[in-house]
């Protein structure tokens, strides 16, 4: 990018100092793992997934990876065809036009806002748990159940993370590597400690490992299966980032592919080993630390780390707290930039496109993402009995929604070349089509099933399941905001700023 542009006559403007920001295979894998933040993901997803599919947890983790893989393949093709041109919002707009594009961007932003609130919620729980463990005062851990205090603590965390992001500061690679390494070590410790308890006969509810755990067809119903898939999408969410790191990885073109493969092997191994160890140690019973206990499903490691790891449970608290805090901060970047791009193309009010002169960061968009995430969390904390697991379930739905749109956008965008050669057929057509259909089916099934007040954690308002209200509410709010913007500033919707099939970023030139 050593191009030189002319600002005005006699003034020459060059861009300097762009380093070849390359990372090797190990670095790319570390970043991939860092995106997924396995310690955080597991503590949030284990409980709700067991609630849906019981001991078939390992099976659903494996099956859940399939749609993610199929979609990611299409995702990579879009990224190669339109580098530097955005993500779901721009891609879907170019494939399907402004309305679906807008909703795709909204889905991405909504999913990120929800995960921000969940990350902050997990961080709050582990913050008080760690205080209790450090000061040897178990009463401190219960402070997280004090709703006003919890919401205020969350506000503090959220504000710090948004502020760091607003100032344009990023977690350095070295810190990321250390955090990832630490998470893996602690999770390995957890697995080994659980196995030792099992072999010593001191496990809470030893449940012998069985092959049936790996059989997805043993899941009771399609409702449970779809809900499980939706949650599995959440646990692999972020993996696709490794596939699209083409520009940053050094060496050959095969590095991103290898990094993505290695990342998924490690992550699957960690998930499966932890899942098997946890079920085998604690069973899926509904009492005590059993994984079926609704009281502890929200945040499994908070309940399980103590019995499994003894005094070293403190390490687990620290691993989850550090990974969710780091994730909280880095996750702000995504929605802020998507909102900024949407503002730039006039799909949102133009103040979303404003860049802070002082910090050269998407100022307004970052603040709004933080406000939305905190408000969402605060409302959920008061209306839900089981806030973390309900948000994770709703999150899975949102991810299915926007990934589904992205995958189908890939199929539609490449429809002209889909049948020219086997490679194109598989990567640009078949894989994203199958992946997209799976996700859309999962999304619709979960949406319909979640109307039932007994769905998920059983939180409900007026006899309608809370997860349904969140999912439909968020999408409905998106439609309303889209129509409002359509009335006020119709340029984007008339294809003035960004239209189908045209190169992006050609605005006002």
């Amino acid at each position: 990018m050593s191009d030189t542009t002319h600002v005005s006559e006699g003034h020459e403007l060059s861009r300097k100092g762009l380093s070849e920001n390359s990372i090797g295979l190990i670095g790319a894998v570390a970043i991939g793992l860092s995106c997924i933040a396995p310690a955080y993901t597991l503590t949030g997803a284990l409980g709700p997934t067991v609630r849906e599919v019981g001991v078939q947890l390992p099976a659903i983790f494996i099956v859940g990876f399939i749609p993610m893989l199929l979609v990611a393949l299409g995702y990579r093709e879009l990224n190669n065809a339109m580098p530097d041109s955005g993500t779901t919002f721009t891609w879907a707009t170019k494939a399907f036009g402004p309305y679906i594009g807008w909703m795709g961007g909204w889905g991405l932003v909504a999913a990120t806002v929800i995960v921000l609130s969940n990350l902050a919620g997990v961080a709050v729980d582990f913050f008080y748990l760690m205080l209790a463990q450090l000061l040897n005062n178990p009463a401190l851990a219960d402070l997280t159940n004090n709703k006003p205090l919890n919401v205020v603590t969350c506000l503090v965390f959220m504000t710090i993370a948004a502020w760091i992001s607003y100032r344009g500061m990023q977690t350095t690679k070295k810190v990321q590597y250390v955090l990832v390494g630490f998470q893996l070590v602690v999770l390995a410790w957890f697995i080994i400690a659980a196995i030792l308890h099992i072999s010593n006969g001191t496990a809470f509810d030893h449940t012998p490992v069985s092959l049936a755990w790996f059989n997805p067809f043993a899941v009771g119903s399609f409702t449970a299966f779809a809900a499980g898939i939706s949650l599995s999408i959440f646990i692999f969410w972020g993996w696709d980032v490794t596939l699209t790191m083409n520009e940053e990885t050094k060496g050959s073109k095969t590095t991103p592919g290898r990094a993505a493969t290695l990342t998924v092997i490690i992550i699957l191994a960690v998930y499966l080993l932890v899942a098997v160890a946890a079920i085998s140690f604690a069973g899926v019973g509904e009492t005590g630390v059993g994984l079926g206990n609704e009281e502890t499903q929200d945040n499994v490691f908070a309940a399980l780390a103590g019995p499994v790891m003894g005094p070293f449970a403190l390490l687990m608290s620290f691993a989850v707290l550090s990974s969710s805090a780091a994730s909280l901060q880095s996750t702000f970047v995504g929605p802020a930039r998507t909102l900024l791009a949407m503002g730039h193309y006039k799909a949102l009010p133009t103040r979303y496109a404003s860049i802070s002169p002082r910090f050269r960061s998407p100022g307004f968009a970052t603040v709004m993402a933080g406000v939305a995430a905190w408000a969402f969390y605060a409302i959920m904390r008061f209306v839900s009995d089981s806030v973390l697991s309900d948000t994770i379930t709703a999150l899975g739905m949102m991810v299915c929604f926007y990934y589904g749109i992205t995958a189908l956008a890939c199929v539609w965008y490449f429809r002209g070349e889909a049948f020219s050669g086997a490679r194109n057929f598989v990567l640009k057509f078949l894989a994203p089509l199958l992946g997209g259909i799976m996700l859309v089916v999962t999304f619709i099934t979960t949406s319909v099933d979640s109307i039932d007040p007994a769905f998920g954690s059983g939180s409900e308002i007026g006899g309608i399941g809370l997860v349904f209200l969140i999912g439909v509410g968020v999408i409905g709010l998106g439609v309303a905001l889209m129509l409002l913007q359509r009335v006020r500033h119709p340029e984007f919707f008339h294809g003035v700023t960004l239209r189908r099939g045209t190169p992006v970023l050609n605005l006002d030139e």
Binding site: R15, I31, S85
Partner: protein, 296 residues
Amino acid sequence: MRYIVGYIANERGRDAVALGSTLAANAGGDLDLTMILPEPHLPAARVPAEPGYDELLAEQAEEWLKQGLALVPEKVPAEASIRYAESFAEGLIQEAEAERAGLIVIGAGRHGLLGRYSVGSVASALLHSSPVPVALAPRGYQAHPGLSRVTCAVGTRAGADNLFETAVDAAARQRIPLRLISLVAVGTKGAAGEAAIEQAKAHARTVLEEAAARLPSEHEVTVEVAHGESIEQAVEELGWHEDELLVIGSSRLAQHNRLFLGSTANKILRSLPVPMVVVPRNYSPSGGDGTAGKNG
């Protein structure tokens, strides 16, 4: 000589452009308005960060730089650059080294309630590591066609190194009056304070003689010893022209060729109404090249 102006699209940035323009107009230099942007890279997050963002940011920076260039007076040659770096200070130093610039200009005024200058994190990072002199523009600085006087803080004892030479040379080259000042904080101790003032006066006389010897006979050079309960008071006791410049040396603690603002300089900064140039220890104006090569 080339002046790097660390440009930000706010009041601080405009103060910096005004000071850079004044200095360049005075010495016949040219400006390089430099905007530092964060290096584009993907953050490790679940959600892919809009890659188009980096292009939008660069476009915005170009727009800002156009506005910045419009602030530069016609007769001062100026160009604009975008540089990617981890931090503002680091980027400006890289730009100065790449361009073999003789000075970095930034706006250091606090736009708030307290004082005219506050060494913010950016200025402070720059003052700790710049190999070339750094000029700090006070809040709301307006461009002038030139400088009416250069004031050099010579300290109260020997050892101001080549700062003094730098100031004398600059005054001689640009034919502007030179004022040498010595600031003394007497505190509350009467007798000790008197002794300090006497010592400062003696030292001031010595440097005045040295300066007079180096300058052409008709060149105006004066010396003043200002004292007050604190350094801040001493600064306020002195009269200042709107279009003058204070040149001050970096701390004795500074590494060779690197800036570091000493405690006295920091105090001066707090009550100073005019721009200030901080010169690194052992910096020689002709040897800007030498320092550039080392880190190149």
